[in-house]
């Protein structure tokens, strides 16, 4: 059964169908489709062979054979978890929109379903042009979501978002075409094998780097994200943070590291530098925010610093270790980056949904407008404190796992890298818990807070689902990490095999 195509086209066509059933019945239909898609994606976990690094669930159809472009799909240990995450978040998003979106709900849900299909396509594509098309296609629904259902400055935010990311990916397309012409194939696997000189590698590295650094986003090309988050509707922010950012991290792993290993090694210092700036500088910037969504947006950037740090610090580890690439720290750094991506998917979505819950009631994202929410919304407060703790990387939540792995691994490369990275322990706790203190705790701040009602059953399910995942992977990350081993080890092989 072509399970990957099934997931992709079920959500895309299902999304179109949602458009036609009208605003009354669209919700139930969207929920059913998203649940089916999630169930399908679970087969990627249960049917997954953890012993091989080969692509699994492979599908192949010629598309533009004269150009060597194919419709080929497949998953391995780094894409399968991301696909499952995507379909899972999709369910949460549909629940979150239920009675909140009254304006064109069918179109709203359709956008999300279609976007989910595209995002799954990004992670499942094994042809680089197909990847590129899906990669760009995800921009359209997000563009609409922010542009139609967004806040007052949505036009500015959408244009900034669109141009920023579009600008980034154009370079990637050039690089892909250049390499495609050299091998007569756009299969990513073929690009992995393609020999490249040092000069070409450097150029290609930067082409990919611009595309993925904007997407993930890295300092200093991150400023589109806070604006996009602030203006996006709640679910838009959730998907943006939970999945779309991960396409950047995924790109680094799928393209940059194996295709241009020598340039990656040479320029790893640059990525590490930007990553550490992301952790420290952005951590401070988050502290200065007065808008909850902006604060969480900056927190996302800071957390993504661990992803890029984990991926590129491996060169430092190998240089510093007597065992070279065989050192366990190398695999741990890469897997830590992956775990951080998945975990951040749950936690950031949850944080944005928490803000959404408050926003739906008070129509304000300003921290100063709140205070003492716990008095009127005790159950919500419990969720919010829990997710805040996860965001601050408390052990027992999934937020801890990735950071812990990356910091432990980074120590082997350089004490000061680890020192700066570990500062997130203090900074992350400071900005997250300070916000919680000002929003959740204290006496009832004003009559609006006094009039709040606690979360309803729908919101309970929505946050409960995410809390369960955060707790589960915090207490037992093994099932997730186990999926990645073979693929990551294979990746290390590629990275350490010089193309020069």
């Amino acid at each position: 059964m072509p399970i990957l195509s099934l997931i992709i086209w079920l959500t895309i066509l299902g999304g179109l169908l949602t458009l036609f059933v009208g605003d009354q019945r669209c919700r139930m239909l969207a929920l059913v489709i998203s649940i089916i898609a999630f169930v399908f994606s679970l087969t990627l976990y249960f049917g997954f062979d953890t012993t091989t690094a080969q692509m699994q669930f492979v599908e192949h159809a010629a598309w533009l054979p004269s150009f060597g472009i194919n419709y080929s799909l497949g998953v391995d240990g780094i894409s399968a978890p991301l696909i499952i995450l995507t379909t899972f978040i999709n369910i949460v998003v549909v629940i979150s929109a239920w009675e909140v979106i009254q304006d064109k709900p069918a179109m709203y849900l359709a956008s999300f379903l279609i976007m989910t299909g595209f995002m799954v396509g990004v992670f499942a594509a094994t042809d680089s042009i197909l990847f590129y098309i899906f990669f760009e296609a995800t921009l359209l629904p997000m563009f609409l979501i922010i542009g139609i259902w967004g806040g007052p400055r949505r036009v500015y935010a959408t244009i900034k978002f669109f141009l920023y990311t579009f600008f980034g990916s154009v370079f990637m397309l050039v690089a892909l075409i250049y390499m495609g012409t050299k091998t007569d194939s756009f299969a990513i696997q073929a690009l992995h094998e393609l020999p490249l000189g040092s000069g070409a590698q450097t150029l290609i590295f930067f082409a990919f780097f611009i595309a993925f650094a904007v997407k993930i986003p890295m300092w200093p090309v991150h400023t589109w994200l806070p604006d996009a988050h602030v203006e996006a509707p709640t679910a838009g922010s959730a998907v943006l943070a939970a999945i779309m950012l991960k396409m950047g991290g995924y790109g680094f792993m799928r393209f940059s590291l194996p295709i241009v290993p020598d340039a990656s090694a040479q320029l790893s210092w640059l990525v590490i530098l930007f990553s550490l700036i992301a952790v420290v500088y952005i951590g401070f910037v988050a502290l200065a925010q007065s808008d909850m969504k902006k604060l969480i947006a900056y927190s996302s950037i800071s957390h993504m610093g661990f992803v890029t740090l984990g991926m590129f610090v491996i060169f430092g580890i190998m240089a510093n270790s007597t065992e070279g690439a065989a050192d366990g720290h190398v695999v741990m750094a890469l897997e830590g980056a992956m775990v951080q991506m998945i975990s951040h998917g749950f936690i950031s979505a949850a944080m944005f949904l928490c803000v959404g819950v408050l926003y739906d009631r008070m129509h304000s994202r300003q921290i100063a407008d709140y205070g003492g929410v716990v008095n009127t919304m005790p159950l919500f407060a419990a969720f919010m404190v829990f997710f805040a703790m996860a965001n601050a990387g408390l052990p027992g939540t999934s937020g801890f796992v990735g950071e812990f792995m990356v910091i432990l691994a980074t120590f082997k490369a350089n004490f000061w890298y680890a020192f700066l990275a570990a500062s997130t322990l203090i900074l992350g706790a400071a900005y997250t818990l300070w916000m919680v203190k000002r929003v959740v705790f204290g006496d009832v701040a004003n009559e609006n807070v006094a009039a709040l009602t606690d979360i309803n059953r729908r919101e309970k399910y929505m946050l409960g689902l995410l809390a369960a995942m955060v707790l589960f992977f915090g207490l037992w990350p093994q099932p997730m990490v186990n999926m990645m081993h073979a693929t990551i080890e294979n990746l290390v092989q590629h990275v350490t095999t010089s193309k020069l």
Binding site: I159, D327, F411, F415, I426
Partner: protein, 650 residues
């Protein structure tokens, strides 16, 4: 035995879940029943483990489940139960049980009754996981989990601005410690290749001679760096200078948790951790010296602040800080056994003092200022006598449990030759006088002298209910006898065996032990050294100054205003942190944001483009005039059509 060890921490966890998630359904009484049952089971199982170990049972070191494997490095959850562990388990669960019972009375009228029980049971679970860990990851797990519960409990009364300030402060200061701790763990993993205690300890000697260049050109011993990083964690949790600032503020929480978490158990986690890591610390004299100096500074300086405090709980809090300093000194002097011994006796008498203070606070209708008390002796006899026992134990009155443990520490430091031992000896001796002085100052101001409260308070003043006084009595018993009973076997009988490693050249306890001839001789020997007389002098001075001639205190505050202000400001640590760290960070954050992000990146880098976007978007808006999404949908549909055509035609 494995089942017993698994059930011990799980029982309180189940209690916590029952009270936390189903608190409203099962009601107040059932909530405390469930949690007390859980902790009681844990206590009994701890006793079973204790006797099993004491009767020569095998040390248990097994993995319960594999949390994760990455890069061949195992991350596991597992238990190491040896004699060090069982002592800690018993201390934690017994004090916790007393506090649970006491809470029934103390929190009687609180609307958050079930939540409170849930938290303290959760704490007991986390603390047991911490002390029973057989690897660094689980240690860190428990370490942060107790920090979380501490955060939740300090801020338990979430409407109080001071409480939610204090809990954030406590969490962040602890995170500073954890920051060092995490780097220490990373160092252990890097140099030994494992997170498992037994394997890491076995590999520790191979680290000797390994160096690390933190600053290019300056080679440091890897062991020293590792140990100091680990110890920074202990400084946070066990509130050593300069990371002590959170503990006094933590008194904003309800009194039972001040007793359980911020006196008896959680704050001693750092002491326990260093004792557990003795195979590492013993290999670095520099690290031990560092530990010793930090400990002695804390012991002396924090005790001094205790003299000028007027809040009954804060006096006890500063005394806790000072006593934690004593334990740290013992660690630095390689007298790990003495540190754990003092940890144990201190847990009981300090929990007693806190709970007694709580009893006074209930009696005084939540008045905590000792200047507004006085003469409570006749109103609260049980509280009075148990407080006296606690105070005598604290100052090290011969025969009471604190005497044995404190004397052992002082003797150990006296015999130690590690750099800084002379200074430390001076500090701990002076500390004895100061401890006695502030302890009896509080005791006399609260229970003796004239009654300084109003008639309304007097009418309602009476002894606390039985659920409050019984735990006091039960804690008073070990405060008296525990030291005499256990000093022989625990300190000098090789009780800890392999659990604690000491380099023979620094084994001060063995040296003292060679002169040890029973409890009576130890007490008599106590009279030949200065400590006892210093304690006596402290108590007598307090009596003279605060009961006979109160004018002396005012005269002193007047004459030495500078000194008084210095102590009153707690040496300026809080102001400094507030201005430099909190204020500085916020100012920096604001600058980075407004200048870095808004002006430089968005303003300069994106500005040129953004301006054009402005023009561009107006055009688009006119073109699309609100139907932009239609175009976009058309594009998506077109894309789909294109894709499908290609698929079906090929």
């Amino acid at each position: 035995m494995k089942l017993i060890y698994i059930c011990a921490p799980l029982a309180p966890l189940i209690g916590a879940i029952a009270a936390g998630f189903f608190g409203n359904k099962i009601g107040r009484t059932n909530a405390h029943r469930a949690t007390i049952a859980g902790v009681a089971i844990a206590f009994l199982l701890s006793l079973v483990s204790l006797f099993h170990q004491m009767s020569g049972g095998e040390r248990f070191d097994e993995t319960i489940y594999t949390w994760m494997v990455s890069g061949g490095i195992k991350f596991e959850v597992g238990f190491l139960v040896d004699r060090l562990t069982v002592v800690m388990m018993t201390v934690v669960t017994s004090v916790s049980l007393m506090v649970h019972i006491y809470t029934i009375g103390y929190m009687k009228d609180d609307p958050g009754y079930q939540r409170f029980f849930s938290y303290i049971s959760l704490f007991t679970f986390a603390m047991l996981m911490l002390v029973m860990a057989n690897n660094f990851m689980q240690l860190f797990f428990g370490w942060e989990a107790v920090g979380l519960v501490s955060y939740l409990l300090i801020g338990f009364w979430y409407k109080k601005p001071t409480a939610i300030f204090a809990n954030l402060k406590a969490f962040l200061v602890n995170r500073v410690g954890d920051f060092g701790f995490l780097l220490g763990i990373a160092a252990v993993l890097m140099y030994t290749g494992t997170l498992n205690y037994s394997e890491a300890f076995a590999a520790a000697p191979s680290m000797v001679g390994t160096t690390i260049e933190l600053i290019p050109g300056v080679a440091w011993s890897a062991l020293t760096v590792t140990c100091i990083c680990l110890f920074i964690g202990a400084m946070g949790k066990s509130a050593q200078i300069p990371l002590h600032v959170w503990l006094p503020d933590s008194m904003e929480g309800p009194t039972p948790i001040s007793a359980l978490i911020h006196a008896a158990t959680m704050v001693t986690a750092g002491i326990f951790m260093v004792a557990r890591m003795s195979p590492f610390f013993e290999l670095s004299v520099t690290a031990l010296s560092f530990v010793l100096i930090i400990g002695s500074l804390t012991a002396l300086l924090m005790g001094l602040i205790g003299i000028v405090q007027n809040d009954i709980k804060r006096v006890v809090a500063y005394s806790t800080l000072s006593q934690l300093g004593y334990m740290t000194v013992a660690l630095g002097a390689s007298a790990y056994g003495a540190a754990i011994f003092h940890l144990m006796t201190h847990a009981f008498f300090k929990a007693l003092l806190f709970l007694a203070a709580g009893s006074v606070i209930i009696g005084m209708h939540h008045e905590q200022d000792i200047r507004k008390m006085g003469g409570l002796r006749k109103y609260m006899p049980i509280t009075y006598w148990t407080s006296l026992i606690g105070t005598l134990a604290l100052i090290g009155f011969p025969g009471f449990s604190g005497f044995f443990s404190k004397d052992a520490i002082i003797e150990a430091v006296h015999h130690s030759h590690i750099p800084g031992a002379g200074f430390a000896y001076l500090c701990v001796l002076l500390g004895v006088f100061i401890t006695a002085f502030y302890s009896f100052r509080m005791f006399f101001l609260v229970f003796h002298g004239e009654e300084r409260f109003d008639d309304h308070t007097r009418e309602h003043l009476h002894e606390s209910p039985k659920v409050v006084t019984w735990p006091l009595i039960l804690l008073a018993i070990p405060s008296v006898i525990l030291g005499a009973l256990t000093i022989g076997p625990m300190l000098f009988g090789g009780f800890f065996g392999d659990a604690i490693v000491v380099d023979p050249s620094r084994d001060v306890l063995a040296e003292i032990g060679s002169h040890y001839h029973g409890v009576v001789k130890f007490v008599l020997h106590g009279f030949q050294v200065p400590a006892v007389y210093l304690a006596l002098a402290g108590a007598v001075s307090a009596w003279y100054i605060y009961l006979r001639k109160p004018s002396i205190a005012d005269w002193f505050a007047d004459k030495f205003g500078f000194l008084h202000r210095l102590l009153d400001n707690k040496y300026g640590f809080d102001d400094f942190n507030q201005k430099v760290f909190a204020g500085g960070s916020l100012a920096l954050a604001d600058k980075l944001w407004t200048v870095g992000d808004v002006k430089l990146i968005d303003g300069m880098m994106v500005n040129g483009t953004a301006n054009k976007i402005g023009v561009f978007s107006t055009v688009i808006r006119k073109l699309g005039s609100g139907y932009l999404y239609n175009y976009a949908f058309a594009m998506i549909v077109g894309l789909l059509a294109m894709l499908s055509i290609f698929i079906f035609t090929t």
